[in-house]
Subunit: 673 residues, 2 copies
Amino acid sequence: MSDFLAHINGPDDLKRLSVAQLPDLAQEIRAALLRYCAAEGGHIGSNLGMVEATIALHYVFDSPNDRIVFDVSHQSYAHKMLTGRRRAFTDEALFGSATGFTNPDESDHDPFVLGHTGTSISLACGMAKARDLMGGENDVVAVIGDGSLSSAVAFEGLNEAAELGGNLIVVVNDNEMSIAENHGGMYAGLAELRATKGTSPHNLFRDMGLDYRYVEDGNDTSALVRAFEDVRGCDHATVVHIHTLKGKGLPADEEGRVEGNHWHDPDRPAGAAPALPNARKTYGGMAMDALAARFDDEPGLIVMSPATPGSNGITRQWRAAAGRHYLDTGIAEEHAVAMAAGIARAGGTPVLATSATFFQRAYDEIHQEFALNNVPGTLLVFAGGLAGADNTHSGAGDVAMFGNVPGLTCLAPTSGDEMLRMLAWTTGPAQRPVAIRMPGEAVLAGERGGAYPRFTATAGGCGRGDGDGDLDGATTDKTTDATAGDDACGDRGARISVDGIAATSDAGNPWARYSVTRHGSQVAIMGLGNAYPLAEDAAMELDARGIHATVIDPHQYSTLDHGTLEALREGHSLVVTVEDGQLEGGWGGKIAAYYGAHSDAHNDVHRDANRDAHSDVHGDANHAAHHDGLPMRVLNFGARKEVTDRITLPDLCRRYRLTAGDIAAAVCEASIQ
Amino acid sequence: MSDFLAHINGPDDLKRLSVAQLPDLAQEIRAALLRYCAAEGGHIGSNLGMVEATIALHYVFDSPNDRIVFDVSHQSYAHKMLTGRRRAFTDEALFGSATGFTNPDESDHDPFVLGHTGTSISLACGMAKARDLMGGENDVVAVIGDGSLSSAVAFEGLNEAAELGGNLIVVVNDNEMSIAENHGGMYAGLAELRATKGTSPHNLFRDMGLDYRYVEDGNDTSALVRAFEDVRGCDHATVVHIHTLKGKGLPADEEGRVEGNHWHDPDRPAGAAPALPNARKTYGGMAMDALAARFDDEPGLIVMSPATPGSNGITRQWRAAAGRHYLDTGIAEEHAVAMAAGIARAGGTPVLATSATFFQRAYDEIHQEFALNNVPGTLLVFAGGLAGADNTHSGAGDVAMFGNVPGLTCLAPTSGDEMLRMLAWTTGPAQRPVAIRMPGEAVLAGERGGAYPRFTATAGGCGRGDGDGDLDGATTDKTTDATAGDDACGDRGARISVDGIAATSDAGNPWARYSVTRHGSQVAIMGLGNAYPLAEDAAMELDARGIHATVIDPHQYSTLDHGTLEALREGHSLVVTVEDGQLEGGWGGKIAAYYGAHSDAHNDVHRDANRDAHSDVHGDANHAAHHDGLPMRVLNFGARKEVTDRITLPDLCRRYRLTAGDIAAAVCEASIQ
């Protein structure tokens, strides 16, 4: 094998090679990618397909003076290797030192941090517009493919491109598939263009006003170099349609050619016994099985996924069996949400599954087509909450996004069984728009009895102990029993009285009322969804300090349970909320605002007690009755308003004091003051 | 004139007419629309253009068994007149009884409440899918036009339509214009189709896999009836491209044919002296003038508007003068935000203007392309906050949307002058992503000295009195002086000490620190943006009750000014926040959470004072020093999490207790307890 790659520290080094040497370089890069992804994981298929095109781009264009914007930018590994970051992919000691997406903090060759599809053309339009306004001379190139083209904003970008009137090159990497498979009538048009080697008069790009050029073999460096040289410096918008082979060089693995090479997981080598599925796949699979069992009886029940079904446990096998009860819209979240609203309004029962950050694309449709229209539909929100993901896939803002949508019911189950009961409700009697936040790793760890690391590393922890751990007990019974959790911890501690308290305003929602899962005094700890196990752990930690805290599972984050909040005034002076997402706009702040705005319901008690209320707050930790009448204090635990990039969950928990020890310490400190 | 309309109480009555009689009915409807819109206002142009097509649709299809989904649905007046709601448009006593958009609460013929563009095809796809799953036989029709086709989600819908494999009819109402004018290369393709009477091989719709049919005269009822009869019951997806004349029957008015007939304002009859412009146009115009003065020196400075520029004071005259410093992207908010990010990254200075609810479409791009990429750009957010708008244009959720985006600076000016100084900062030294919430009517009323109704009807009110009222004093000076407001109320009351308090964490933002505009004690009232005048009014109301409140202008809602919040502990026991938007996810709740989480900074004082703190809270209203050490209480005033539909601003203020009297009463009640 040749040894070119080791001497390439930037595009200038690449340009010293002859065109005839480029295929050998491509071989080197491909071999390095295979080694790298075997060890580190990554979007192997799309990167393998783009090796030659990336070489040709940097051979012809003059980055970073010319600007190259990679759509989604998950296919930028070869780009990184050619722009000074080679060793991050070739030197094992440096594996992981480059992110999986373009990043301006890494290199001037990366104009943007990206991670969601379809915006590259718009970004390139902006760079071209600024160049033309300010008298620049550079080329601007957008590289889009792998299904991104069906993403709405890409179309808006194409529509603008022709109008700009200046240089703009859109490289369409057509590998005949999206992540699972392409969806939509547009792809028939692309197929016709491929079949006619770009000569068909039915040409979407020309119809949008763009110039057009076709490269039949998008893995032929010579042909690519010629095509890019021809368009470089052009004075108008041009599409270069290149036909590539996704996963070129990758042996077919057991997952098959299509989905299997979207993301390679190094923890599951071919032939090895499969690892336990993660929370997304576990709970997604549970939900899918429960729904599939109903398909024969409910013709209108349909699962929708805007691409990436496999990540959420919607396996190929399941999809094949589901038949017309499953619909992949392609990467088109806006359309998917609006279409779900249409299905629901016409009497069907849509269940739309994707990850929290991908739902961001459909924010407007969630508000209007879905919630304002009050359609009976279910959004399954995967990967909500804190995780060690990169900065474009962090779900820490999901509660702030969904929880503030008027008319949307937002559920946060704390076990697989509860998730199934919620799903049975939302696809049955609920008859309203609902988002279910699928449980994450912290919940799964608890259900597996500690086989996975818990949310915090604190020793001990009381576990669930209420039978929720039986994943096999999945039920599709449509009856719901949201209050069952109330009995989980039985008679421990004094019971909270809720007599005479106004019922929650969310009539008809069996999860509107919070469950008191452990009865204590002085302090009540509420843990939302994935943070519920941590609330239990913190209560255990407080036990050792002589404080027997109440623990509450709120089940949902779209309404406050005023009844429970008022009842807590009896015997409690401090409420602690715990959530695994952004505090600002999130859930716990609403509890704080509630207690701030609602004065004590027991004014008479208050006036009698207030003279000595403050002086005996602490010291005698079990002497809490005297607190009655003081304003309830609230401590919110959760994440800062920031986007984090591949910081591990344990590190994030430490950063945000989301550990049982931190919470217990804060409770003690608050009691002392 | 004929007298058909008076006898049409539903589509069945329409079907009794002969095709030859339909043009006369169209004349009647057109005359009624002109009378109606002259009195009530409305989207006159698009409705006039759609009269014949609407008649033909209901003549051929069998609504509500067949489903007709009007995109945006602002062009549905004729549809409403033909489906039982005629008198809402013909009987003056009932004018206003039908909404301006389709609404299922009004009629079974209206499948959805809509108001934003481009979702009709997706909604129709959903209805068609449910029909096919559940064995229905009906036709499903989406009616889209008026520029909506350039909206991203419409493309996603088209892409799906061909794949569905069943009946779906998309009527494309091509009137050769969007609200201002169409933008994008797609429109050249439509023009070619029109020029060739639909025969051009360059056909976007066919390229997307749809069948296609062209109707040259989209205002010819006979031709339309024939076309619809031909496609009714078809077993696949078909586009019927109809060429209509927007505003047909409307005399050209002084605003000209294009924008002038998007929305007719009955308060400004032709020839009358122009009314004072509203807040959007006033402040938008001020911003545009300030920017235009810099164009010659700053080639990269560019104003972008995703359609509807006129609503925001970006007049045709201004646009013509701005030349290439202005860009209308068409109705494509996602693209516009991403393109702005591209412009900023390439060294330009983008200012992107649209209304709060339209920004919802770009939620993901605001998070990722704009904020996460930390580009120096400005979003001008119009119509944020409470208003009497319909349910799809209510901006009450804007603070919950923008204020929780990590990395985005969110400013809320309380005067035109402050807005200009903020804009000078964001387009100059700021070098960061910023959203400026353009001031609303409450601010404008104060600046006009009461010429407009204030936010509440309370008599009195202290006004600004600080010189901000001089709208002519607009400055483009790039220097910023965010602390000037601190001096506005001079020496009234005891000054708040901020010595020794840590500075805000938002370094470099001159508006990060709140301004104390009036110095008082016991109670501090903070009014965000449009709600600031109400905070002043409430303080005046409290004066009469013996409480001299501190008043604070926070200037921004993206960070908390911990320094001021801590300083308030001295001499204050109650903080009141006032905002003119949704509380959940909004601003004031964060103040409540802050005080809940942060115990008193003066623990020593606290411990000395706490024995008698509660007993002398009230009675002596000026004796506040003893409060030191108690938890700060916080009352949040703002809107409920709900979408309101054409409820007037005064009524909304009463509903949410956003009046000076209500706030004063709540303060007194809180002090008593």
